[in-house]
């Protein structure tokens, strides 16, 4: 903490493991709330037309959906305190219908706010250092990061200081708030990329140069949607001190030359594709070289100030293993199943990372009731320094649990329906809200997830199948990330009915691949059957230790297509 921070008294019970607002941050968020309050009033009195108001409300995360407005609250880099989680629960009860939905970009959505209540909701969020700034609109969105940041065993550097630095830099940016389209940035600092950086407009991979100086590999032009692309490296190594300036250069080139004639061709991935990588790199570097860098002279200092907030919590010194844990696993098969799937190794001896599944059998992926949110908050305080994370898989992470206390935590979760032992398994399905909620959707997605979840509910069977990511999108916009699911499902309309296309072989990690289509779509009632036949082929053919994605890569797409050809029916219909 430097002299500046000593001017701002620490609040009681505030965790020291994540960024705390200073007076500037607090004033900024407060001003944003009042600005939106005025904007709503000006919309209601007609000073602003809907066309004028729409981009303004989107920049505050407010959508109009099929049944109601939807408010998307930002959870920067997926990190939350217990106090913040409780506030989310309170908001759900006071202004919504008692629940919220955690999203594939680590945010939270409320599905039933009234426009006239949103300023008060934003005010309630601001009190706990939260907001809905730029969670929608043609601007820079929530910067996402690894949900295991700071605690993963394969982590090279914590990505969250970078994400926080970029959050501030991108908030109400005067030049980049009316871009051709949305702009998403993700940061990873680990060998295993849990943030899907190759599928973002800008992906940043923390690394050092040969001299050990800190910096980034900068990857541009990844994305999903109608035309999925894997991002391409525009800079192998960017020194940390140049991060904001270089990103400004990229954004300026995009703002000037990104297409604005066609919504489906307006992302930077299209600009990369149509301009050519070498030419676009040259334009970015030319802009970077021409910029006045003087304003960025103290960025390294500011970065260090921010990084200081992400200190490790006061871990106890513990032995590496926990005999109590091992015994508990031997004694209790249900707990053992939970420990096998929902617990990941922690870089500090004696600790563990727990992923709480929000995918109960037959449930709505990512939904949590206000009561469950409060239990999660309490669990984080009892078992983990009051800190939680939201993962891209729409689950909640408790990142600092003592191995000795895992069983006690599990019992607390089990009592609240939060102990489903399926993280990373076939029923840990990622699904967008789909046509049940979303105005953009062409088909429902949640009932498909529910059907698959019920079909594969048996825990032993799930463990036998092993790691298998199913991702479901209810329309071509791909918010369910179906392109990068080992099994992807896309809901479309065919001849006036909902129809589901299935893809195989997607991979969101640095191994990055986009799923391949199995064939024309099938009706909703056939999806679970189809998945079952694909799984059966995998189980029959796999080699020891081979995950579904590995087997698919080895066996080949054609074999899976064959497996679905049905005798005696209109066989081409898959």
């Amino acid at each position: 903490m430097n002299a500046h921070d000593q001017n701002h008294a620490a609040r009681p019970n505030a965790p020291t493991t994540t960024y705390l607002y200073d007076s500037y941050d607090a004033a900024f968020v407060k001003a944003r709330v009042e600005e939106f309050r005025t904007q709503v009033a000006r919309r209601l009195d007609g000073s602003l037309t809907e066309d004028e108001f729409r981009p303004l409300r989107l920049m505050n995360g407010l959508y109009l959906q099929l049944h109601a407005y939807m408010l998307r609250v930002a959870i920067p880099y997926g990190t939350l305190t217990a106090r913040q989680m409780r506030r989310l629960a309170d908001i759900a009860d006071k202004w919504d219908k008692g629940y919220g939905h955690f999203t594939t970009r680590q945010n939270l959505q409320y599905n039933w706010p009234k426009l006239v209540d949103v300023p008060d909701i934003l005010g309630a969020l601001a009190e706990v250092e939260m907001h809905a700034i730029q969670t929608s609109g043609n601007c820079i969105r929530n910067v996402t990061a690894d949900q295991f940041a700071g605690v993963a065993t394969d982590e090279y550097e914590d990505p969250r200081p970078t994400a926080e630095f970029l959050r501030q830099w991108s908030s109400l940016h005067p030049e980049f708030s009316f871009l051709p389209r949305k702009f998403k940035i993700a940061v990873t600092g680990a060998a295993h990329d849990r943030a899907a950086i190759k599928f973002h407009d800008i992906g940043l991979r923390l690394r050092a140069d040969d001299a050990g100086a800190p910096g980034y590999e900068v990857i541009v032009g990844g994305g999903l949607g109608r035309s999925p692309f894997v991002g391409k490296t525009v800079r192998d190594f960017l020194p940390r001190a140049d991060l904001l300036a270089f990103l400004e250069a990229i954004l300026r080139v995009y703002n000037r030359f990104g297409r604005r004639d066609n919504k489906y061709k307006a992302r930077i991935k299209i600009l990369v594709h149509e301009t050519g990588l070498d030419e676009l790199k040259a334009q970015i570097e030319a802009e970077f070289a021409a910029m006045d860098r003087a304003p960025f002279a103290y960025d390294a200092e500011e970065f260090a100030r921010i990084a200081g907030f992400f200190a490790p919590p006061p871990y106890e010194v513990l032995p590496a293993g926990s005999p109590a844990l091992e015994q508990a696993r031997r004694d209790d098969p249900a707990f053992d199943a939970f420990a096998a799937s929902n617990v990941a190794p922690h870089k500090v001896p004696g600790y563990a990372i727990v992923t709480v599944s929000l995918k109960p059998e037959g449930g709505i992926p990512g939904d949590a009731t206000s009561e469950q949110m409060r239990i999660l908050a309490a669990a984080s305080e009892r078992f983990g320094f009051g800190e939680l994370r939201v993962s891209h898989a729409q689950n909640i992470v408790l990142p600092h649990v003592k191995q000795d206390e895992l069983q006690a935590l599990w019992r607390m979760l089990a009592a609240a329906g939060l102990a489903t032992p399926n993280v990373g398994l076939i029923t840990d399905i990622i699904s967008c809200p789909g046509l049940d909620y979303c105005a953009l959707a062409t088909a429902r997605s949640i009932p498909i997830a529910q059907a698959i979840s019920r079909r594969f509910a048996d825990v032993d069977r799930q463990r036998e199948i092993g790691e298998l990511g199913i991702k479901i999108s209810g329309c071509i916009n791909a918010c369910g990330h179906h392109h990068i699911g080992a099994i992807g499902i896309l809901g479309l309309e065919k001849r006036g009915q909902e129809s589901y296309q299935i893809t195989l072989g997607g991979d969101p990690t640095l191994q990055a691949s986009i799923g391949e289509l199995l064939g024309p779509g099938v009706g909703a009632e056939l999806v679970a059957d189809t998945i079952e036949r694909l799984v059966d082929l995998y189980l029959a053919e796999r080699r020891p230790g081979e995950r579904f994605i590995d087997a698919w890569r080895r066996i080949g797409h054609a074999r899976f297509k064959e497996a679905l050809a049905r005798e005696g029916e209109h066989g081409a219909d898959i």
Binding site: A3, H4, L56, N138, W169, P174, F176
Partner: protein, 167 residues
């Protein structure tokens, strides 16, 4: 069109010249880019001259004429089209010190974006001015004390203000 300067509606000292009108020797008119060469050759150096450019104009092509231009207006065809903000930045970077005017479909909520990117004045259709009076423009401009970004005009940068407090 209505003109906003310093958060107030003001009389426009400039006149937008229609393409078929002759260029007056006293200048003080804003010509479309296609007539700039004609205006430069017609008018005596030092005569106030303004030009209206599209938000896709090439700033480098305009730079040689900066010394002769008292005003550059950049068109904003739609509120969602932010290209003018980048173009303004580049024009300032290339050394233009005259009046930079954002002209077109902007709402009050974009006033600070314009000012921070280097615009001096904002020109909007009467239809927007009719709905968004001076109080709304003033209110929007005053809504924030400081913003985060460094190197932009009009407002303190939070990232810079922090350093002051700590030193």
């Amino acid at each position: 069109m209505a003109l906003i300067s310093d958060g107030k509606f003001v009389e426009d000292a400039w006149r937008r010249l229609a393409d078929e009108e002759a260029i007056p020797p006293s200048g003080k008119c804003v010509v479309s880019l296609g007539r700039l060469d004609e205006a430069l050759s017609t008018l005596a150096p030092g005569t106030p001259l303004g030009v209206l450019i599209a938000n896709t104009a090439d700033p480098a092509a305009l730079q040689p004429h900066f010394a002769r231009l008292a005003l550059i207006a950049i068109a904003f065809p739609a509120t969602g089209d932010g290209r003018g903000f980048s173009l303004a930045r580049l024009i300032r970077r290339l050394g233009f010190t005259g009046e930079l005017r954002a002209s077109g479909r902007l709402v009050a909520d974009q006033a600070t974006h314009a000012l921070r990117c280097g615009f001096d004045t904002i020109e909007i259709p009467a239809e927007i001015a009719g709905r968004q009076d001076a109080a709304q423009w003033r209110g929007a401009i005053d809504a924030y004390g400081a913003f985060y970004q460094q190197g932009y005009a009009n407002r303190a940068a939070i990232l810079a203000e922090r350093r002051k407090t700590s030193s």
